[in-house]
């Protein structure tokens, strides 16, 4: 990239020519993630406004189990770390390592999801359904949307494993893996907001 020995950082950005495809794809996907985060921001706003409107129904502290949420958080945090390990292995084109860390990531994501579904089932069993109050509507919308994103991420990761098996580590597959890890880390950021505001902030 450097012209006749000129160090790259001395060439102005505007004169360096087109950015590598990898950088462009990362930027485009980052824009998508930010728009996704804005969707979550709207649901957070709705929850913040409606969290006190329980209409005589169950309130947050009556429903939320901090121990379960801590385990869910640990699962997502650990899966972010293993997703990073997968990214390193994929850049080395180490097939076995990529599969191993991808499967660990999927297992942690699935554990998170099953804990969340068990919580929803418990809430439904005691009558805390979305129709009960505005608080519960906004709760299920926010937390459910995050859960749907995690589900999508698990499906995406399964598809990526199939693509590595069939297409190998082609540049396109590498870029999709980059986008997947960005998606997975962004979900973790949203979850930080969820457990801080919804579960721990309930009063």
């Amino acid at each position: 990239m450097s012209v006749a020995g000129t160090p790259i950082e001395e060439i102005p950005l505007s004169l360096r020519g087109p950015a590598p495809t990898r950088v462009l794809v990362g930027y485009g996907f980052w824009l998508f993630l930010l728009s996704d985060i804005i969707i979550f921001g709207v649901f957070f706003a709705a929850y913040a406004v409606l969290s006190g409107e329980t209409a005589g129904g169950p309130t947050g502290p009556q429903l939320f189990d901090h121990g379960r949420v801590l385990i869910e958080t640990a699962c997502l945090l650990a899966s972010s770390f293993t997703c990073g390990m997968m990214a390193i292995a994929a850049d080395r084109r180490a097939r076995a390592g990529t599969y191993f860390w991808a499967i660990v990531t999927m297992a942690l994501g699935a554990t998170f999801l099953s804990l969340e579904l068990a919580e929803f089932a418990h809430m439904a069993a005691i009558g805390a359904v979305p129709q009960r109050s505005a608080f519960l509507s906004s709760f299920f919308t926010l937390v459910g949307t995050h859960g749907l994103h995690v589900t999508t991420g698990l499906l995406w990761l399964a598809v990526m494993l199939a693509q590595i098996a069939t297409l190998g580590f082609s540049p396109a597959v590498q870029r999709r893996l980059l986008c997947f890890s960005l998606f997975w880390h962004a979900l973790d950021i949203v979850w930080v907001g969820v457990f801080s505001i919804v579960y721990l902030g309930a009063h």
């Binding site: 990239m1 450097s2 160090p7 790259i8 950082e9 950005l13 360096r16 590598p20 990898r22 950088v23 990362g26 930027y27 980052w30 824009l31 930010l34 728009s35 985060i37 804005i38 921001g41 709207v42 957070f44 706003a45 709705a46 913040a48 406004v49 901090h66 801590l70 958080t73 640990a74 945090l77 650990a78 972010s80 770390f81 990073g84 390990m85 990214a87 390193i88 850049d91 080395r92 980059l178 890890s181 960005l182 880390h185 962004a186 973790d188 950021i189 930080v192 907001g193 457990f195 801080s196 505001i197 721990l200 902030g201 009063h203």
Partner: protein
């Protein structure tokens, strides 16, 4: 965000090969990147445990807990952005950084704007029992 170690050479290194405003683990060897993910995991574990502790303990002045939770959450989001997503103010990250700033601005407007407007509406509204009397 660009986690390629070998494909491009414009890693925004300073004159002596030192990183300039780069996120840890954005470039470099597998070991550097492993260390960055490990540091991110450790920092966010500490911040998570601090959040859960401060929500359950009675040792902290009650009205201060939500503020503390907010500070811890923002710190943890920052840790995730830097150590996992490798967002930084490095020269090759200008576009990502500006997009992030705009996203944070929009989310802040939506969340705090909604809370402000709805609190104001609640304050101005006729109480429900009076409203029922007026309709009679």
């Amino acid at each position: 965000m660009d986690r390629s170690a070998d494909t491009d050479s414009d890693g925004a290194k300073g004159a002596k090969g030192t990183p300039r405003d780069e996120a840890p683990g954005a470039h470099g060897t597998g070991r550097d990147r492993f260390n960055a993910y490990l540091a991110g995991l450790i920092f966010s574990t500490i911040l998570t445990l601090a959040s859960f502790w401060s929500a359950s303990t009675g040792a902290i002045y009650g009205p201060g807990v939500p503020i503390l939770l907010g500070v811890l959450a923002i710190a943890q989001m920052g840790v995730h952005l830097v150590f996992f997503l490798h967002i930084s103010s490095a020269p090759d990250q200008v576009n990502n950084f500006l997009a992030l700033a705009f996203g944070v601005f929009v989310v802040g407007l939506i969340v705090f704007g909604s809370m402000l407007i709805m609190a104001n509406l609640n304050h101005m509204m006729v109480p429900m029992d009076k409203l029922m009397q007026m309709q009679r």
